[in-house]
Symmetry: C2
């Protein structure tokens, strides 16, 4: 079995030729130095680290996994050394501000780094995966005192961080959290409760672990507004250990390289982060960063699956393909069989299309942070708010289903562990669930981000997609679809879903379909951009482009049809 | 975690109310006694055995699995006792002829038995899964001498059987097999070669194992016509052991309760089954039985996943559902959330729709065997030939994807092993591959069974589906779709795919879409039949019926569109 090999040229092509990332970044005062050379160099160096240090540990991560004993977690062989090399080389701080010990590079380069890391070793990558979110959270919400102790350690990745949200009875609905924080005389808090599904709650990668924990003050109102955010380290500054215990780690379908911990807090001494009752607010910074990150995991895992299947299909022969030129009695390479070609090109279409969307989202994050014009920042904010849930849901969905399709290319060999493809299927499944299930993402997009402003943000996004499309057939198809979707939204969705007599669940029934339509429009936009770029008239780009329009795009009609039908008969739709 | 509980009432309802199985069977001279009471009694008894004996072993089957050591395979705890009880109670011989030691009951009752067994314990069920095929194969092709030694042992299940086809370099294309059979002086053969992916090649369930092996005589022509079928037992009648060795068992994604063996034959003394060069012919009996069986596995596994998710959704609360009547601060049952309801009802639609199709197929097998009129037998033969690959491909596909959807109902709890739902996802994945990958089934349906007779069989099948539809809206929708598909087939598919200048791969590109269209037509037929049955106006049947038309049926347009597009531009379709 071969380890994952990043193909940084492919990634750079999208950054430079499709998105003109260097020009966009150089227009920002803080990233004036982010030219094509710098971007390419960071991509290559990070690719090298990923290939040489992280990728080779993936199999042991699955087969040996994280081991739990007496409250301690031993990570799989090589994980600690790789992590130590990772932070010491400065990778976690890539996009952190220079004044915090970071390198001040654009977020989009962090995005490409994490995409590669997830492809190479999803389990290992879970550990640093929350770092940047924790960094932003502490930077923007913690007191100066806390920052002095924790900000640089988190920025550089010398210490790792967790996000302690879920409780046994409170999953998607954090408002139900019961963990208590009781004020102490010195201004700190005694925090008690149990949190579950805590990735990296305990491990031996770093000397300290910083837990960010949602909990409730004694006088807090019920529901989400009663939640505050607290910080509890594994070790305090004086070296004493906090009253935080890892009770066990979960036995999972996959992702064995990442310990999923049950964490018990027994009057653990905690510091508050931000204001009382604003915990969810402070956490949202982290959760949004995490959602883009999970979308990138999806793209990376699908690339990992595709690489395996593509290599297998090019080196193994099976049956005669139609129109075969093979000698009598000889079989053809698997990639010559149409059903297999379709699988491979379809996944390629999702990967490349997803990269264009995800890298643009990361660029918009840079623009949101640094662009001098408020109007441009507003557009960036709109893009990130609307596109992040789409990326998270659609590309984690595709990672799992596409990895399964890639497994099919191996036939029976795909089902045995040898080739590593079944690990990608198992590992990727979790990404459809964590950081808000994909169903929650769909509700977020439609019910929280589209209906409340009467579609204003969404319609502006659709306008954004129509800019600079060119005049190709594909562009025309996309423009027509954008117009039709706009009509559906303004003519049926908005008036009917917000009608006074609308069944309260009407929008919920079509949230998934709505998210899929936006997904397909974003994909079509991506592929129209790719078609307009120089150097995409060879099979490397033509085949997935054709796959997109032939086999992925037709879902648009299906989804719009389901929406239209449900909206036409609201009472029947809402059972 | 609860064990699987067969719901035999649901199954009986489809047999009696939807398919009128008792009446159909009683019209066959050999099954005059198969009345409703008998059928219900067999269903209940088999359900009891499945629930009490087989289902409780499923978890250990996965977690402990089959163990290999020094050529021997130890099955998971309880597997041997359960199998001994199974054959001694007469279950394997349910549908074998009475003169062979069987009970002479209809095939449709064997179908329901195996559906339940697969739902309860897929790994265990692999062991007897090939028995009936082996029985038919020996009965119809073996010499009287071989029959005297083996037929009754296989019919009763006292001995288990394997099907040794695949070789390391020959998967889907059996014509490439290299295993050699050299004639010996006594009329027997010395068989040498290596076979892979042999389910139950070695185990401790029975005292003997009978291998049916495809191999090549020294003077055999290359390709599939050079294959003959041989029988090699683990132990000969004199008690001596044959030269067949299990070299190892595969490490797999799931199905750990079934050993997948690499079998080496070292001049093993073998008897020929049937005529030289007709091995594939003799094997096809087995393979067709196996394909229906695998389709039933898909239905069973999806039912197992649905039961778990349905129970969880009814007992766990999560967030407030739209239009909630829950008290302030209280969450709603998961089943009240539209996205979860959609998942549950959609799977229910596939399970019930699949049962109607699968049970009818099993009934057609009974009719094919026993109906006095040749014309009716011909119709039955057509149904089985065309519908079996559809059942195999579409319902194993749905088992995996639907089980994954059911996992989603559990949120993060679905990804941990505790609830057993992730096992169903892992176990079910293999069924998309074995007994001919789902891509092979699509090619079989379109290229081997539809194009060669210029669509005659397919068009007759479409006519069959239009019989007795009634006048409901659903029936009208189905009739319209049948007519449109007929036009697509006769107007575009047949003329263009068989045009002299048609690209040789044209039909291959749309084989999957073709199979999906037939799937959806069969499903629509099922649900129209259900709608016409008495007692289906309650939510138990109304909800999945509505789910079918709202969320499954729209794929028909999508697939017909892809086909029409490819056929309209054959050169573009065939790259």
């Amino acid at each position: 079995m071969n380890h994952f090999q990043p193909r940084t040229n492919d990634m750079f092509f999208i950054l430079q030729q499709v998105l003109q990332a260097p020009q966009q970044l150089q227009a920002l005062p803080s990233h004036a130095e982010a030219d094509a050379d710098l971007m390419q160099q960071v991509l290559e160096e990070s690719g090298k680290f990923v290939a040489e240090v992280v990728a080779p540990l993936n199999r042991d991560g699955d087969e040996i996994g994280a081991q739990f004993r007496d409250g301690a977690v031993t990570m799989p062989p090589g994980f600690r050394d790789a992590y130590q090399a990772f932070w010491q080389a400065g990778w976690p701080s890539l996009a952190c501000a220079m004044e915090d010990g970071g390198q001040g590079l654009p977020a989009v380069l962090e995005a490409t780094l994490y995409e590669m890391l997830s492809a190479a070793n999803h389990g290992w990558t879970m550990a640093p995966g929350l770092l940047h979110g924790a960094y932003e959270c502490i930077k923007h919400h913690a007191s100066d005192e806390l920052k002095a102790s924790y900000l640089e350690k988190i920025a550089t990745g010398e210490w790792l961080a967790t996000m302690c949200l879920t409780e046994p009875h409170a999953g998607s609905d954090l408002g139900m959290c019961r963990t208590k924080a009781v004020p102490m005389a010195d201004g700190r808090f005694a925090l008690s409760g149990t949190k579950i599904f805590i990735s990296g709650g305990e491990h031996d990668l770093t000397d300290n672990i910083v837990h960010l924990v949602l909990a409730r003050l004694p006088d807090a109102p019920p529901g989400p507004k009663g939640l505050s955010l607290f910080l509890v380290p594994k070790f305090y500054e004086d070296g004493s250990r906090s009253a935080v215990v890892c009770e066990r780690i979960e036995e999972k379908m996959g992702l064995h390289g990442s310990p999923t911990c049950v964490m018990r807090f027994d009057e653990a001494v905690a510091s508050i982060v931000g204001e009382p009752g604003k915990g969810l607010n402070a956490m949202f910074v982290m959760m949004n960063a995490a959602r883009l990150h999970v979308g990138l995991q999806g793209i990376g895992l699908l690339e990992a699956a595709w690489q395996k299947a593509d290599a297998y299909a090019k080196e193994r022969r099976q049956m005669r393909a139609p129109g075969s030129h093979a000698k009598a009695g000889e079989a053809d390479f698997i990639e010559l069989h149409p059903a297999m070609r379709r699988i491979l090109d379809t996944q390629r279409a999702w990967i490349d299309g997803g990269r264009v969307v995800a890298y643009r989202t990361a660029l918009e994050l840079d623009i949101l942070k640094h662009h001098p014009e408020p109007q441009r920042r507003e557009a960036a904010s709109r893009w990130c708010a609307l596109v992040t849930p789409v990326l998270k849901a659609a590309w984690t969905d595709q990672a799992f289903h596409g990895a399964s399709a890639c497994l099919q290319v191996f036939g029976g060999h795909g089902y045995v562990r040898e080739w590593g493809i079944e690990q990608v299927v198992r590992d990727s499944r979790v990404a459809m669930i964590y950081e808000g299930t994909n169903e929650i993402q769909a509700i977020d997009l439609l019910l929280r981000k589209t209906l409340p402003d009467a579609g204003a943000g969404l319609l502006a996004l659709l306008d954004d997609l129509a800019i600079d499309l060119g005049t190709s057939d594909d562009a025309t198809r996309l423009r027509t679809a954008l117009a039709r979707f706009r009509t559906l939204v303004t003519g049926q969705l908005l008036p009917r879903a917000s009608a006074p007599d609308a069944p309260p669940d009407l929008a919920h029934w079509i949230a998934e379909d709505f998210l899929r339509v936006v997904t397909l429009l974003l994909m079509a936009w991506s592929w129209s951009r790719v078609a307009n770029a120089d150097g995409t008239d060879d099979p490397r780009w033509q085949r997935p482009q054709s796959a997109f329009w032939r086999w992925i795009w037709p879902e648009l009609e299906l989804r719009m049809g389901i929406m239209a039908e449900a909206l036409a008969r609201p009472a029947a739709a809402a059972q």
